[in-house]
């Protein structure tokens, strides 16, 4: 029984994948794990004549260290990333974000390349990658380019990708030993649930003073949102409960949530305030080596 009518292409190289994407234009879709695309095709949200599967491109599955950068192939599965010793060594907050996503059957298929390319506002890997100061490597018909993670998603389900562009890797800088990060997420259940809200925090702490901060909110705006006022408020301060509580309130004010079945706008703001406070406190403790 065919559930939707498309021709499946399995390119054997990135170049071929880009060429096919440009050739078919809007009549095609790229597929990574398929956990989003196949559902959209079935529901009719998307209609395409061609599906170009990227999962077979072995060179896009590598997780390695490139000098001072952690290179995560766009087609590495979420399970592979969450289990990679290198990820735990360089940026454990990413594994922390991934391990609670969906269920194991989905993490065995889904990829960060797919997560970014879909541009779904409640995704978990884009905000934490933004907090890490990461970037996205894009291959296209005209060559390769690197885009800052924070500039990648433009609007819900809309990214900087043009026809024929594919994500080949996610790159995360090796973090200074004086820094720490944390991913905090609230869901209605502990497993197999989409985020009501998430907050990713990254801090650098030197001699008891926060010298740099990034706070990124997920599921409370059209794209991963930087809580700029929140982050600015902690820089120059010593980590502490009241500093982080005040910063949480600023993040809540900066969020742009909608009301939907997972929570009302006001509820999500209240959740963001708590998550931001927790994420900052946890990131600070990690930066100062008080906890792992």
């Amino acid at each position: 029984m065919a559930f939707c009518d498309f021709k499946l292409h399995k390119p054997e190289s990135v170049t071929e994948a880009c060429r096919l994407g440009r050739e078919f234009g809007r009549t095609c879709a790229y597929m990574s794990g398929g956990t989003e695309l196949l559902v959209d095709l079935r529901s009719g949200r998307k209609k395409v004549a061609h599906v170009i599967a990227l999962g077979g491109l072995k060179e896009l599955r590598e997780i390695r260290r490139d000098g001072d950068t952690l290179h995560i192939g766009a087609q590495a599965t979420l399970s592979e990333i969450a289990e990679a010793p290198l990820v735990h060594e360089v940026f454990p907050a990413l594994a922390e974000a991934i391990v609670t996503m969906a269920g194991v059957q989905i993490r065995n298929l889904a990829t960060m390349g797919g997560n970014f390319s879909c541009g779904v506002p409640c995704s978990d890997t884009p905000p934490i990658t933004c907090a890490a100061g990461g970037s996205i490597v894009v291959a296209g018909p005209d060559g390769e380019r690197e885009v800052a993670a924070r500039d990648f998603v433009l609007a819900p389900r809309t990214t900087v990708l043009n026809p024929g562009d594919i994500v080949t890797a996610i790159r995360i800088p090796v973090q200074p030993t004086t820094s720490g990060a944390s991913f905090q997420r609230f869901t209605m259940r502990r497993g197999s649930a989409l985020a009501v809200a998430s907050v990713s925090a990254w801090l650098n702490v030197e001699q008891g003073v926060i010298t740099a901060a990034r706070v990124v909110m997920g599921a409370v705006g059209p794209i991963p949102l930087f809580a700029e006022n929140c982050a600015a408020s902690v820089v120059g301060q010593a980590p502490g409960d009241s500093v982080f509580a005040d910063a949480g309130a600023l993040a809540a004010a900066e969020a742009q949530p909608i009301s939907d079945l997972r929570g009302s706008e006001q509820y999500r703001r209240d959740v963001v305030a708590v998550l931001a406070r927790r994420a900052l406190a946890c990131a600070a403790a990690r930066a100062e080596g008080r906890t792992s």
Binding site: L38, V39, A102
Partner: protein
């Protein structure tokens, strides 16, 4: 489209319509332990092992299973660990309507085979991609822990 794969230990040739899902071709091939549930990748009722790893077959194009090793519950009928797990499910009363049971058994079997310590949290985490609307999960979780405790 013709598809050759190893299905439950036997080299098998299946015919798949373009755009067919692994779920569809497996059920057509008689593997009815693979349940059609939510069909959006959320419920785990269509779980199979693809090259040894649990996946939801409703979000896997059939063509992806070409040359792969696919195991459904039918393929583990004679497996001692699966038999023990099934016995524990029966003894704990972990089966009610039974629709989610094949998926629960597969992820639990896979988790038990990974070995290592197993806490109640670990079991719940491993099973978090499998929805059960009857049991409230307490008895399936108990059954998996019972099976683990009985492991040599």
């Amino acid at each position: 489209m013709k598809l050759t794969l190893s299905l439950n230990g036997h080299s098998t040739e299946l015919v798949a319509a373009p755009g067919a899902r692994l779920l569809d071709v497996l059920r057509d091939a008689g593997c009815t332990s693979v349940k059609r549930g939510c069909e959006t990748g959320d419920c785990g009722a269509c779980c199979v092992l693809l090259d040894g790893e649990p996946v939801n077959s409703c979000v896997v194009p059939a063509a992806f299973a070409a040359d792969a090793i696919v195991t459904t519950l039918e393929g583990l009928n004679d497996d001692p660990l699966m038999r023990r797990l099934q016995d524990c499910f029966l003894e704990a009363g972990a089966v009610q309507c039974g629709y989610c049971t094949p998926g629960l058994l597969l992820v639990a079997w896979q988790r038990l085979r990974e070995g290592g310590e197993l806490t109640e949290y670990d079991v719940r985490h491993a099973m978090s991609g499998n929805l059960c609307r009857c049991t409230g999960y307490a008895k399936p979780v108990r059954a998996v822990l019972d099976a683990w405790e009985a492991m040599p």
